[in-house]
Symmetry: C2
Subunit: 126 residues, 2 copies
């Protein structure tokens, strides 16, 4: 019989979902696609803001915009497996990810992701 | 006879040059002109960098460039009369200001400004 400590040793993070090899591929692809789209959006916006700069305040507005977006992206795109459910939930809720891109993940994971997205939507509406 | 403390009271900053009304007009005009030119240069460079962005690293390079230039400009353009000699000296040395723009300042101020510009040039060369 396995002692509790041995069980804990072999599976230290009981509350973290395990991601299979194939799920990791799906997750990485979806994650990179959403990040790529968001970066593309920031690039387009920065080009637009820069082209419209007329005075110094516009210049520092662009700097501020870039700093805020960089911090937000750094916070949001956290590829630790312990965080992925939240990351995908947030991306779903922001319409930065379509559910089809997560097809192939285990049903319980998809449900957690959807549930978190729903929670965020309700928070936003409140 | 005036006591030392009374003298100190009427002229508390013995080492600071006094700027006459007409000198203040010249200083403000020269200061604003140099600042305007430097901001114009940063705006042009930011527009150029933005137009050439292809990937996210270019985006954060632009942010970094803007942050550094903002800090540098904040440090450099200090319009306290106690700082103006140094400010103009630095602007002369960087060729951001022409000596003609300071015409009308008292001779001793112009000499201090030139002397500081020369000192900076020698520091740079060392």
């Amino acid at each position: 019989m396995t002692s509790p400590s041995a069980t804990q040793h072999s599976y230290p993070y009981q509350n973290e979902p395990i991601w299979s090899k194939s799920e990791k591929v799906i997750a990485r692809t979806a994650f990179d696609a959403a990040l790529g789209r968001e970066l593309h959006e920031v690039i387009q916006q920065a080009k637009k803001m820069a082209s419209q700069i007329q005075q110094s305040s516009d210049l520092w507005d662009l700097e501020h915009y870039l700093t805020e977006r960089r911090k937000e992206i750094d916070r949001k795109y956290d590829y630790r497996s312990s965080q992925l459910t939240h990351v995908f939930g947030k991306l779903l809720q922001e319409s930065r990810l379509r559910e089809e891109e997560l097809r192939g993940l285990r049903k319980d994971k998809l449900e957690s992701i959807r549930s978190y997205a729903k929670f965020l939507a309700e928070m936003d509406a409140a």
